[in-house]
């Protein structure tokens, strides 16, 4: 009986280790860091699978009648903020521009941008500071200004056309989306990408 105890009860883990590291490698390589969003929305589903380009894209997130803007590319963000500053007569310092370059998306009034950028990086993404970019008032249509400046920036610096993606919440009223589309169309930005999720149910 004493000798029976000596027989090993351990399992060979080599294969398990191999498989798990293979999976690990797969997930590491396929994952893209998810950009934090100030206002996450539920996307409607569709069967179309057009991929969204990752460069020169301005995404407009629409949720609860508020609009949030995301600009791809750090250099683009800096340049666009400079242009916005010129339009609204706000002088942004280099430090503020760098802080803005780290902001993946935002929904703040340009006049409150300085206050927002003065906050610590962890506080900047808090939803209470992002009440939405003003767009309803035709005299203070900042959404329109952002889009125009972004388009000018990408055309003058890179000679490429800016692409606009609309990320609408599934339950958003069509009227709001139409308003956004009208703002874009007034500047002859007639082509947009409507961001959707993949439809899994049988439609």
């Amino acid at each position: 009986m004493a000798k029976m105890k000596k027989s090993s009860t351990r399992i060979d883990m080599t294969a398990m280790c191999d498989v798990s590291f293979l999976l690990l490698t797969f997930f590491v390589l396929t994952s893209t860091a998810k950009t934090p969003e100030v206002h996450p929305v539920d996307l409607p589903a569709s069967t179309k699978e057009t991929k969204i380009p990752s460069d020169d894209i301005l995404s407009i997130t629409v949720g609860q009648e508020n609009v949030y803007i995301g600009i791809a590319g750090k250099e683009d963000r800096k340049d666009i903020l400079t242009r916005m500053g010129q339009e609204y007569q706000i002088e942004f310092t280099e430090a503020e521009k760098n802080a803005f370059a780290g902001l993946e998306n935002f929904g703040a009034d340009i006049r409150e941008m300085k206050t927002l950028l003065a906050k610590s990086p962890s506080d900047r993404m808090q939803e209470e500071f992002h009440k939405g970019v003003p767009y309803k008032d035709s005299l203070n249509n900042q959404l329109s200004s952002w889009v125009r400046n972004a388009r000018e920036s990408s055309w003058q610096r890179k000679e490429s056309f800016l692409k606009v993606a609309i990320k609408g919440d599934a339950n958003e009223q069509f009227g709001t989306i139409k308003e956004i589309m009208n703002i874009l169309q007034e500047q002859r930005q007639n082509r947009f990408y409507l961001v959707t999720g993949l439809r899994t149910d049988d439609f």
Binding site: N171, E186, T196, G197
Partner: protein, 182 residues
Amino acid sequence: MAELNTGGGEGKKGGKKVRSKKQNTGVDLTAMVDLAFLLITFFMLTTSLSKPQSMDLTMPDKIKDPLKDKPQEAKESKTMTILIGKDRKLKYYMGMINDPFGGVGPTDSAYGKEGIRKVILQKMANLRAQGHEGKNGIVVLIKATEDATYTDMIDILDEMAITGVDVYALQDMIDEEKAVMQ
């Protein structure tokens, strides 16, 4: 499974000495596997598995050049209007609202394959039989009320992609249509 039962029952009979060859040389991988699974779990959860896709939508130019742009004319038999209303209400008609083609006014329909898709495919098949296909085929006008949801619009645009309608446009509703969708 090399580590299991290094001293078997038969080995006992052969000799009492345990040969050095049978010594266990396996490394303990438990900790490594633990770590690997922990990382897998982390990456699985942080990866957004359903990457967002998008739908291309091109709208006509709003700023009209009266010399260049003439409204596109389409035959009544080819023009289908889909009206999207509140609470997933859906109606369609052919031709013009005041004088619908074939005398059939706005008809109720539903989303999905048993509803509007069947209707669109039927109309497309009819037109194909008359030799109208692709760009010369059906023209779908999509009109939504303000209180329809964004999902409704995406569902109909998706329907255009599924059925393969080449010519479709998003338009504003006229008053008669708004009255119908009340």
